[in-house]
Amino acid sequence: MDNSAKNKLKALAAHTLFLTCAGALLMFRASSGTYFEKIRRSIFITAYTECRGEEELDALKNKIEAVEGVKKTVILTEDEVFTALEGSLTKKDMLLSIGNIKIPSLCKIYPYTLNYEKLRKISDTISAFSEIKYSDTGGKAVKGLFIFAEDFQKAVIFITALLLLGVLSSALAAAKSMKYLSERFHFLSERGIAPKNIVLQYAVEMFLIPLTSLIVSILILLAFRQSNCGNIITFLTAPQIILLIGLSALPAAARAAARLIKSA
């Protein structure tokens, strides 16, 4: 194999590694973000109130949302609680026949944070409201979920840092792999060949290496997702693919531009 073919293969491999790492990082960040969002959505404080009127409930909702750390409050009225529980209530008729039982309205309070202490603080503040009869943070099970979320967050930071390191080192390798091309640019530029003609001469090479490596890296990521963790990892979105296309041209463009500026 001659030098030229070796150089092209090296550049292709380095670009593929770079784009695969970058794609994996984007996919991992997006997937972990989705996971945290799912956890966040599944954690809420339940509070019960005996307020029934629409105005009363609206006022309570605004009061709860004014508490620091509260993201959103959903209030289910007596009827809505009934509707929600309908499927689970086997003896609903019996329950309704007891005239003096009144179902309280239910407040679902979603926090911004995934910190258990802050959740407790919000719960205590809300419990202190005169309108609130009782509030519940979910006990040990929710506390366990918080511990898991905190550990998971640390793991996500660690894996992200590793992937970022991989992206940076492979980007360096990709830029270095294009050295042969920049040497050619310099060589031809010294011999009086116009930059436009040099770029035209190597346009196919400059275009094909990033494009081929982009396709290969997308296929690798797709295969990885399908074979190992199809349900866990979300695939690249359209904007992320566009970002990868931009990144694929970066090492070659940076090298070529630096060399042309230097030799101009």
């Binding site: 001659d2 030229s4 042969y180 040497e183 031809l188 010294e190 011999r191 009086g192 060949i193």
Partner: protein, 203 residues
Amino acid sequence: MKLLIKADNLWLENSRSVVFKNAHIEIKAGEFIWLEGAQASGKSMLMGILSQKRKPSKGIISSSLRAPLCNSKCTLLENESVKNNIKAVLPEKPLDDAAFTVTELLKSMNLFSLRNVPARDLSRGQRQMLNLTTFLALDTEILLFDDPMSALDNESRVLFIQAADKKHRQGAAIVISSTLPCPGICPSGTRHFLLKNGQLSEE
């Protein structure tokens, strides 16, 4: 004949003194020019100005093209073979033509036996011959060579001048600067310039 470069009243000053002054030179298509001058007489600077890589302190230089300048600073594709270094400057030629041109140049510059050797493994003289060959392979109307014979032995000097003459007969203007006087093997009609004491004169 087509006028390629016209330089009028060129002055060049460095931090210490005037390198040359009132230099006039016209280079037309198909001319063979020998520019003689002692070391540090300003030959390289004049060549740099003619190739538009350097600006004069005063004077006007007009040129219709970008003249390639071969000097000791020019690089080679170190990891590529001698043959591929020459091929790299022949991108637009059909494969057969390029192969023929490369072989002819390699033979005329006595590099044929080294055709598959990487440039990094060449001696200083061989590197210089390859450097000159990559310029002679260019399809251009003018070629400037700044002190091309400094690293060459007598035999290689003759080979280079013969190859440059061949290029000149194909229609290219050749300008060679050297510390050596104009050798007899230069083609008839060679214009001989002397750069001495800051003055450029045609002999």
